[in-house]
């Protein structure tokens, strides 16, 4: 990647590469899903308080805490990497991607409305978040790890559905993968930033 391409890419995709910002959200989802799988258990004080009321307040506090962590992550980026204002909206221009997404959404709606089957939804969600794979502007490394993550989620979802295992595992895998992608994006952002140089004439 030459200097001009690197700088333009970094500037246009700066907020998109701030992967740590979304980490608290995926952690929240992961915590709730692991609870439904019986891996982790949130403390409940049945008999002392009404279970539903306590759950409601626990959820609200958890969301607030994760919102705070996300805000702190934003502050970290602003302080260490700076901020910018941009009008760029990076949507994939690839026709194959849009055709694939459209087909998947249509199939999901059909399955949901006429057959009552929700199994297509994870594929739609996966197609939405693997959109960087179809953007030619992205460096090959980023496209590769999005492709790898997408393939991992699609095949594991297919395996779970065919073997009739617990569907909550699908969400757990999605959360772990999205968390890993956030970290990978953060590392890419770090690698795109130029190390301090003193050899330029003032």
């Amino acid at each position: 990647m030459d200097e001009q391409t690197r700088l333009t890419y970094l500037t246009r995709h700066y907020y998109e590469l701030q992967g740590i910002r979304t980490a608290p959200f995926w952690l929240t989802m992961l915590a709730y899903q692991t609870e439904s799988l019986g891996v982790a258990q949130f403390p409940r004080f049945y008999g002392v308080f009404n279970g539903h009321v306590l759950n409601f307040f626990a959820t609200i506090s958890w969301v607030c805490l994760m919102g705070y962590f996300s805000w702190r992550a934003g502050q970290y980026y602003r302080r260490h990497f700076g901020s910018l204002e941009s009008n760029w909206i990076t949507l994939p221009t690839n026709r194959i991607y849009w055709s694939l997404l459209l087909c998947c959404v249509a199939l999901s709606i059909y399955n949901l409305v006429f057959l009552g089957f929700r199994g297509m939804l994870p594929y739609c969600v996966t197609l939405v978040w693997i959109s960087p794979l179809f953007e030619a502007e992205n460096p090959p490394l980023r496209r590769f790890y999005f492709a790898l993550a997408g393939a991992l989620v699609v095949f594991s979802t297919l395996f779970i559905q065919l073997t009739h295992r617990n569907n909550a595992v699908i969400l757990v895998i999605q959360c772990i993968v999205l968390l890993a992608l956030g970290i990978a994006d953060h590392m890419l952002l770090m690698s795109l930033c130029t190390p301090p140089r003193e050899d330029v004439d003032a």
Binding site: T11, Y14, G82, S83, L84, E85, T194, V200, A202
Partner: protein, 117 residues
């Protein structure tokens, strides 16, 4: 002999400097950027970046705005309309130079052993 050499178009010297070109490239890809981001993207030191920004501002290629935020000054930099035109012209000039063909590279002999002999 010089008559046979292709005449290359004039290049804007203010933009042609690598550090200033990096700053302008960043600014051309966004509405505005703050000082920290420019430092992160270009890798320039605070002093150097400040000098380059002053030069670009003097050439009316950028506009610098200082905002007071929580007792701290935040510097935001924006590419001016003139700057955008000049930068586009610069890239067109560079493209024309590339199309005309680069001048022959004079190779230097760096073999130290033959020098010693």
């Amino acid at each position: 002999m010089l008559e046979n050499q292709p005449s290359f178009p004039e290049v804007n010297r203010v933009i042609h400097e690598p550090a200033r070109l990096s700053i302008l490239t960043v600014l051309s890809a966004c509405t505005n950027a703050d000082f920290t981001f420019l430092q992160t993207a270009t890798g320039l030191s605070k002093g150097n970046l400040s000098v380059q920004l002053t030069r670009l501002e003097e050439a009316a290629l950028i506009s610098v705005e200082k905002i007071l935020e929580r007792k701290k000054t935040r510097t935001t930099v924006k590419l001016s309309a003139e700057g955008r035109i000049q930068l586009n012209e610069y890239w067109q000039t560079m493209k024309r130079i590339q199309e005309q063909g680069a001048p022959p590279i004079i190779q230097k002999t760096t073999d130290t052993r033959s020098d010693r002999a």
